[in-house]
Amino acid sequence: MKFLEIFRFEFAYQLRRASVWLYFALLSVIAFLFIVGNYVDDARAGDFFVNSPVIIANVMVFGSLFWLLAAASVAGEAAARDAETRMHSLMYTAPIGKAQYLGGRFLAAFVINTLLLLALPAGVLLALRFSGIEPELLGPFSPASYLSAYFFIALPNAFAGTALQFSFAALNRRTTASYLGSLLIFVTAYIVCPALFKLNPELAKLLDPLGMINLQEMTDVWTPIEKNTRLIAPEGVFLLNRLLWLGIASLTLALTGLRFDLVHHAASGWRNRLQRRTAALLAKTAVLGGSAHCNPVSIPPVARTFGFAARLCQTLAITRESFRTIAKSRGGLVLLTGVAILTAIALPLNMNHMGVPFFPRTEYVLTFLTAPLTDPHTPWIIVPLLIIYYTGELVWREREAGLSEIADAAPVSEWILILGKFTGLGLMLVVWLALLATAGMLAQASMNYRDFEIGLYLKVLFGLQLPEYLLFACLVFALHVLVNQKHLGHLAALVAYGLIAFASGLGIGHHLLVYGSAPNWSYTDMRGFGASLAPWLCFKLYWAAWAVLLAVATKLFWVRSRESGFKSRLELARRRFDDSAAGIGAAAVLLITAAGGFIFYNTNILNEYRTASEIMERRAEYERRYGQYENTPQPRIAGTDLQVEIYPDRRAADVRGAYRLVNNGASAISVVHLATSPEVDTGEVSFDRPAALSLADEELDHRIYTLAEPLAPGDSLSLNFSVHYELQGFRNGGADFSVSANGSYFKNLDWLPAVGYQTNREINDAADRRLYNLPTRPEVPPLEDAEAQGFPADGDRIAFRAVVGTGENQIAVAPGALRRTWTANDRRYFEYATDAPIRNEYAFFSAAYAVREARQNDVVIQIFHHPAHTANLERILRGAQASLDYYTRHFGPYPNGYLRFVERPGQGFGMHSDPTTIDYSEGSSRLDPGNDSRGLDFVTAVVAHEVGHQWWGGSQLTPAYVEGAPLLTESLAWYSALGVLDEQYGGEQQRRLVSFMQETYETPRTRAAAPLLRAASDWYLAYRKGPLALYALSEYIGKERVNLALRRLFEQHGAGRSPLPTSLDLYRELQAVTPDSHRSLLHDLFAANVFWELETEEAAAQQTASGEWQVTIAARARKFAVDAAGVETVLPMDDWVQVGVFAPAEDDAQPGKPLYLQTHRVVSNRQTITVTVPEKPARAGIDPEHLLIDLKTDDNVEKVKPGN
């Protein structure tokens, strides 16, 4: 009864709080925005419904993150309101038990928090009903989708969350302590578990407090059909996870019940009792010692000062106090140090690329330690959250301690109060960043890396990251002061943060409109900060001026009295608006206007500013206006002659050039379409014959020239053009690094005019095409699209010549042999010319390069690299030599006398192969394959792959741009690399690369996919399944046969002539070399999306009379196909599968040597296979090398049991 009354009273009391309703409204808005801003696009792109169970569950999970904050307020109130309002004397003395009291309060908080979570489905339903989602994206309404998500995600989350929040608040007797519970869950869910996931996915899934990681996996793995129909249900690890958190919550509550006493706080706890006892003792002596009369103590006359020095002294005193307050609080130094330690531990785990370790260079470590305020997708989201929390504590400190009246009456101006508290918070942030820098260096040191570059740490963390946080802190201070209600202040600050972080999602892209934002800065070894710093500074200055204005508002509305009514505060503010406020405010406004004006001049007048939707609209308009010319016959480029002037210091470039255009078609051409580049100014274009400019669309960058005399078939003409590149000021989107002081890099496709209508300028994404009312078309033309074969988008073969000029101390690189180099007018010139036709895709580089060189027969191999980045040069050279050798022998000759590797600025790991030139971004130079525990030489493998592109895709064999094209480029290049490793580095390297590729089986991925022959944009199909399938085939039919097929394909199509090859041509060649017995395997690997499930249930061995061992393998097999939507069809299996028996391993790392490895016919379901081996076997099983596509790789081989 009493329990019920306590529950009822608390429940009713909290429901009367306006903030609870506000939280409800806010959570539904958040759910609404999730659907509209995120999941509608996902659904459009992923062929499943917006209201599918898995999306509703996702909204529940991410909504739970925000719920944590609202719920903390509810749980904190329920747990500690009595102690905080000093009602506890009345409450605790009432005849109620601890269990009734705590139980009733907890239940009330829990019920309200579960009700709050109902806001999420409510928001989803509102979004589905009112946001105008296309009806075809909506599945039928299914209550089960909502119920399952609510019961299995929301309810357990609510229980665990409320239990922790409630316990923290109850035991600390402070309502705000509940936020620590939220913080704990948040850090575990958002920082710890994702980091743990890389180490131990199962453990991360088990620990995952809100279900985020579990759900992410479901979203990744489920096929579209499953997404639409399958309900969220706890099973496997997810079930354990839910139970674990229910257990943790119950245990916490039980402990709280034990620890909590219905007594006055000062009397509970041994520490307090001790303190209290000594205090009482001392008080007694004080009372006894003092007479009833006043002590005759004279107060020394001390002059006080209120000048500048005194103000400084006051400010410092408040700073010190403020810093101490937050540093010593539970969310203070202890927490930050903990996070820093976690960071130091987690950082080395991130210092790898696909498991390949790399040198933790400071430039890269810093990218992990920093994040702009506008990016909420890093662990550092915790810093703005802490700023909000700290600021609340500081603004409310005196009032919460009941000391405000005394403090407010002290002769301290509001400026000093604000400045002191702000500086205290700033100091805390400085300490945090110092901790972070220490963590970063510790992580580096733990990886035996010693080049700390402390100066760079200081510049980046304190020069760039700190202002980011300080600006936000100004805003939070102002909000807390203006709102003047702690919980609502937190909420307002959070909403402000959300608006900042998701502004671009809401369509606000201009940094002048998003508080504190700026174009991102960047730093690389080669380029330094480059041109990214100046715009960043301008924007930050602009926002700093706003921050000052906010500080003026903070001063005017600083609460220093009992006046809390809006009108009286306004009146007070009016009176406080003195000269200093007016002066500072005016200066701030002046600066805002000046900096804002300067920025606007740069971003919107010097440069054109376009919103994301304006850019899309432009692309749509291009297609609408000029799509009609897509099939208009156009001359093809056959030769290019360029004069390129790069001015690194001015960050400008000029290109003058001539194309030789040939009419390859059957009819005369009288109209030439020219697509100019929006990034440069394209000057006048002239022809070597009379021609008229009949259309010049500067808006969409399209020109049409009419030739006075049509170009007859087989005839050619010359087209002369010039483009000028020079940056005017800066743009909102950030710096353009095409030409930089060091490390210029640009491509012909970016700047030079292109002939004909450019399909690649069209909107490709199906959902976007629908949005802009463009006809639907597949993103990649279907394999059957015969037209594409005769009409290559970039299949032109050109003769190329260029003279490239650059700064005196730089080297410029372009395709072709270096004919000569000279210096003129303090500039260095390089003349390049190709000795064989190349594809019309190339790039220019210029930097202060160091050059390393080697030869392979007649081919010169060069590496142009940043002088400090030398770690992998030998590997690259050797890899290139080995590859050239292998490919020349197996596929055909390399047509050029040189092969270049060129480093370019950037943090990525990308290598890219253009004809004769392979460029790699700086990130690749960090790779340290020598330390790879798997023993894989990844750098050599990638080099072999990229050199492979010189045959496949890059410059010789060019596939038609239809489905299956990546199979002919990426898959063949990787398969070729396997051959290089096998032949030149020993079979072990090849096996390591194969198992490296098979590691992707462990990454959760939907099984719904196209067959390899139709692989389009799926990375896994092109880069992993493709080469693995080719490898499997080579193991079945022999490598020589597969290479023979590839050689034949290359002989027919290597010259890049129409008709361009498709995956079907490859398939035909493979069929020709595959014996009938393996035709079905070939089909299953390439022409269908087939999976095998192969399992050895038991392996037993018995020694025969002759001393041999008879091994019996109980195997189980299943084969099925999955189509692109996820429909699964079980196939009858009767396939050749390897059966292997292995000797005991000599050491743990190496599998034992095979005693037996033969293919057997394996059929569906259970069967027993018996083989005889000469030695005692240790392990046995089917498909031990995982040649067939079987995602579960750990059950193929089992230990051999001794038979009876």
Partner: protein
């Protein structure tokens, strides 16, 4: 230096008129502001402590406009609010030092002297390193006095300081206050008559936002000498006596009721002349000017 309060009025947003045209002139010395709970004392005190804005009226301390020159006033202001808390984890010495900086003692050495002198004065020197959270009510109150005394204030506002103190603490506390009145304006608000009678040279009685009486305690007592009568009665007789006489107070004494009435002549019926005290002044003022002294909501 005098404190001039002119026509100060304040009405809260819930319609309660906390102050109505309050006009007072307060000279140097101890000044008692006497009134029941909810009379508007704290509103007036907070207004004088620069923490609340009146709707109308002006307040001047000497030549300084208290309402508009807050910074100047705060430099010479000592304020001990009716209720205040402390940072429980800070020591008295640390927190007093902090306030000393805020009050303009910038120099470290002299600040130490001041802090020590004040802590000795309020008898907290021996417990100065103790966490304030462990202090008793009286110790905390004395700590508040130390803060208020910082900087030798010319205007001292002490709001209900003795509420909740035990008798010996109260005596010690009043002794501490009595020293202040020598050069400063000290305003002491209280609902305990003895506080005023023991300390103050001048006083005012306030109820329902209005000043009912402004006087010197001794003069006021002198004025009603010979008009106060007392009688010990049974409780049951009270109703009859109240009907016939102007009863100003009733008290219990060993189970009987002592009733005091005001009358120019002996009311007869067993009443004996009584020596008037300040309490009689207070109660008779309240009785004559206001019909219902109690039952007002507490105004804060």
């Amino acid at each position: 230096m005098e404190l001039h309060i002119r026509d100060v009025s304040k009405t809260y947003s819930n319609g309660v008129a906390a102050l109505k045209n309050v006009t007072l002139t307060i000279p140097v010395g101890m000044y008692g502001l006497l009134g029941p709970n909810g009379a508007g004392k704290s509103t007036l005190m907070r207004t004088l402590a620069t923490l609340q804005e009146p709707d109308e009226g002006s307040v001047r301390l000497g030549d300084t406009d208290l309402l508009n020159q807050k910074d100047e006033i705060r430099r010479t202001l000592g304020y001990l609010p009716q209720e205040f808390g402390v940072y429980p984890k800070a020591s008295a010495e640390h927190l007093l030092d902090h306030f000393a900086i805020l009050k303009g003692f910038s120099e470290r050495r002299t600040r130490r002297e001041i802090v020590e002198a004040l802590l000795r004065k309020v008898n907290l020197w021996d417990v100065r390193r103790q966490k304030l959270g462990g202090y008793s009510g009286g110790m905390r109150q004395r700590f508040g006095v130390a803060v208020a005394l910082l900087g030798d204030p010319k205007l001292m506002i002490v709001d209900e300081p003795t509420a909740g103190l035990d008798p010996s603490e109260r005596v010690r506390f009043l002794n501490l206050l009595s020293e202040l009145g020598e050069q400063s304006v000290v305003i002491l608000s209280t609902h305990i008559v003895e506080d005023v009678s023991e300390l103050c040279t001048r006083m005012a009685i306030i109820n329902r936002g209005e000043i009912l009486l402004e006087t010197e305690p001794l003069a006021a007592i002198r004025e009603i000498r010979g008009r106060i009568w007392r009688k010990v009665i049974e409780k049951s007789e009270l109703a009859e006596i109240e009907e016939k006489n102007a009863v100003i107070s009733t008290k219990l004494l060993a189970g009987k009721t002592v009733v005091r009435v005001r009358s120019r002549e002996n009311p007869g019926g067993g009443f004996e002349a009584a020596e008037p005290d300040l309490e009689d002044v207070y109660f008779s003022t309240m009785m004559s000017k206001a019909s219902v002294p109690d039952g007002q909501p507490e105004l804060n």
